[in-house]
């Protein structure tokens, strides 16, 4: 909804290919979520019952959808100040920012791994599956976020050296 500015200006062919897969997965997940929430209403009013597992499953899929879609989604940022920088300094700033992002992403990946380990024997009450499934989304998506950051660094590195 907000700020669909291009995430990277130098989007190359290999990047678009890399970007297709997460979009596909996120779209399918949103479709299934819409279906499940609707089914919940229909079952309640048409059949008078309730799908006990549906809320847990919908929330689990929603977390997956958000973290997977975040691989390609534009990131909200305050850029009116850095927009004033000359192109080379701007490329340098983008590289710096991506290193900060990568550092924090690694903290999240490690944390997600730790949580998967810690909660592997806890299960969802209605679904009966391990709670680790929810943290797996952050663990896997985290690696894809790292790839996105690396691609951005490479693109801006080219700008930086290309202009020298």
């Amino acid at each position: 909804m907000n700020h669909p500015q291009p995430a990277t200006q130098n989007e190359s062919a290999e990047q678009t290919l890399l970007f297709r897969l997460p979009d596909l997965l996120a779209a399918v997940l949103l479709f299934v979520i819409t279906f499940l929430v609707t089914a919940q209403v229909l079952v309640r009013y048409a059949l008078g019952g309730s799908l006990v597992w549906s809320e847990e499953l919908t929330r689990l899929l929603f977390v997956w959808m958000v973290l997977v879609a975040a691989i390609t989604a534009p990131r909200m940022q305050v850029d009116f100040l850095v927009d004033l920088l000359p192109p080379r300094l701007r490329a340098f700033q983008r590289i710096l920012v991506e290193f900060v992002v990568m550092g924090l992403t690694i903290v999240l990946i490690q944390g997600a791994w730790g949580m998967m380990d810690l909660r592997q024997f806890d299960t969802y009450i209605a679904l009966g599956i391990s709670v680790s499934w929810i943290y797996l989304s952050l663990f896997l998506a985290g690696f894809a976020w790292l790839l996105r950051s690396l691609a951005t660094v490479v693109a801006h590195w080219r700008t930086l050296t290309g202009l020298t």
Binding site: M1, N2, H3, P4, D23, A26, A27, L29, L30, F31, I33, T34, V37, T38, Q40, V41, Y45, E55, T58, R59, L60, F62, V63, M65, V66, L67, V68, A69, A70, T72, A73, P74, R75, M76, Q77, V78, D79, F80, L81, V82, Q93, R94, L96, V97, V100, V101, L104, V107, L108, I109, Q110, G111, A112, G114, M115, L118, I134, Y135, S137, L138
Partner: protein, 427 residues
């Protein structure tokens, strides 16, 4: 002290251009390492995931999806045609049509950007053909779109309600009177400007034309009724209303208007998922911040600081309004909401301000920020649609911004405008 490190880190990282979600995480990490060095860093991952893992927040994805389907499926077009037969004959014709169509569309979409994209793409070219200056049309679509998240459903209101643990339904209903008031006053301003500049009006086609357009639009017009009626009548929750809206808009677009292609449907899913992710990543990061604010008692520190300046609710609301109008110039409204509301809430409670009233005030305020430079997303969106320089759009939008700020002042100092309807309908 902790507050200074947290906010200082956040501001520094944001100004460096670090994406807001990561700026929040970075500031939290720094604060943790200084004040709670013995805590495991798994906490960050845990709170990010827990912040996203919420059933009410799923409504964001669903309302975004419904808005996309509405635009792709020809629903916008029918609503505009219907509005044209109703108010097109008043002086300033298509200007009133823009405002009325925007109000109806606000009842389907929960986001100002979706609202502006919908009315802008249809109304700016139409108004150009009718002789209105494009900058005027763009400014009107831009400011009328602010009603999108005020008239229910509303994405920022869902987020606010989750942040302060208030009822989403109460927030939605609280936005009705302020939203409708905005629409009526905007139409008044269109009329004044049109009289002065001699803008065109259309002809009154008679009740028969209204009836024809109403029949063509009825499937579309039913959407807001289903959403609001369902929530008010307790038929379904807000999230469920979002899903029903998607299914309904999809069915109408495919079977009634026969306009939705598979490709457009797919694009709607991807756009909605990405839009959700942009917002929810920040919500997830704020999960870490929310936990830390409570753990380090930063909220008490902030409340004590704020209350040392004033103990009057009017002064507090005034200061907060001015603060958010300034923040809204530079920051995305949803991000500002997520970052500042948890810090302000203890003071709001201490001053006995109703959280629903406060929420509606803050949401109106921050949505106005979408129309104020230098960071006003709607300005650039509409300038682009109208093919006009942003400065021209900003200049034309000033009288309408005046109207919006006037409504903000009314809503701030007359709590009944917000609270009367929820009390009547929901108790």
């Amino acid at each position: 002290m902790t507050l200074a490190v947290l906010l200082g880190g956040l501001v520094l990282l944001s100004l460096l251009g670090v994406p807001l979600a990561f700026a929040i995480l970075g500031a939290c990490l720094a604060t943790l390492m200084i004040f709670r060095p013995h805590l495991p860093l798994e906490l960050m991952a845990q709170h990010v995931v827990n912040g996203i893992d919420s059933f009410p927040l799923i409504a964001i994805a669903l309302f975004l999806f419904a808005g996309e389907l509405m635009n792709a499926g020809g629903i916008t077009r029918r609503i505009v045609d219907f509005a044209a037969t109703l108010v097109g004959h008043i002086r300033g014709g298509l200007g009133h049509v823009t405002v009325l169509a925007s109000m109806i569309i606000s009842g389907i979409s929960g986001s100002a950007v979706a609202d502006a994209a919908a009315t802008g793409s249809v109304m700016v070219p139409a108004m150009k053909r009718a002789g209105f200056p494009p900058a005027f049309s763009a400014a009107l679509c831009e400011t009328a779109a602010v009603m999108g998240p005020i008239i229910p459903p509303s994405i920022p209101m869902v987020i606010y309600a989750i942040l302060v643990e208030a009822s989403v339904g109460h927030m939605f209903v609280g936005g009705i009177i302020p939203g409708v008031l905005m629409g009526l006053l905007l139409m008044g301003m269109v009329w004044i400007i049109s009289m002065r500049r001699g803008y065109a009006k259309g002809t009154w086609g008679g009740m028969a034309a209204v009836a024809t357009a109403f029949t063509a639009a009825i499937a579309a017009l039913a959407t807001p009724v289903i959403i609001l009626g369902g929530i008010l009548g307790g038929v379904f929750t807000v999230t469920e209303a979002g899903a029903i809206a998607c299914v309904y808009c999809g069915l109408v677009a495919v079977f009634v208007y026969r306009q939705l292609t598979l490709k457009e449907f797919w694009r709607s899913l991807v756009t909605a998922a990405q839009g959700t992710a942009s917002v929810m990543l920040i919500v997830g990061a704020s999960g870490v911040m929310g936990w830390m604010i409570a753990d380090l008692q930063i909220n008490k520190e902030a409340a004590a600081l704020l209350l040392s300046f004033t103990t009057s609710d009017w002064v507090f609301l005034t200061v907060v309004n001015v603060f958010f109008l300034i923040v809204g110039m530079f920051m995305d409204p949803l991000a500002a909401l997520i970052v500042f509301v948890p810090i302000l809430m203890p003071a709001v409670q201490a001053l006995a301000i109703d959280p629903i009233h406060f929420g509606v005030v803050i949401v109106i305020n921050l949505m106005i920020g979408l129309c104020t430079p230098p960071v006003g997303y709607l300005i650039y969106l509409m300038a682009n649609v109208a093919n006009e320089p942003p400065q021209a759009v900003i200049r034309e939008s000033l009288p309408f911004l005046g109207v919006l700020v006037f409504v903000l002042i009314l809503v701030t100092y007359i709590p009944a405008l917000t609270l009367a309807l929820p009390q009547y309908f929901l108790g």
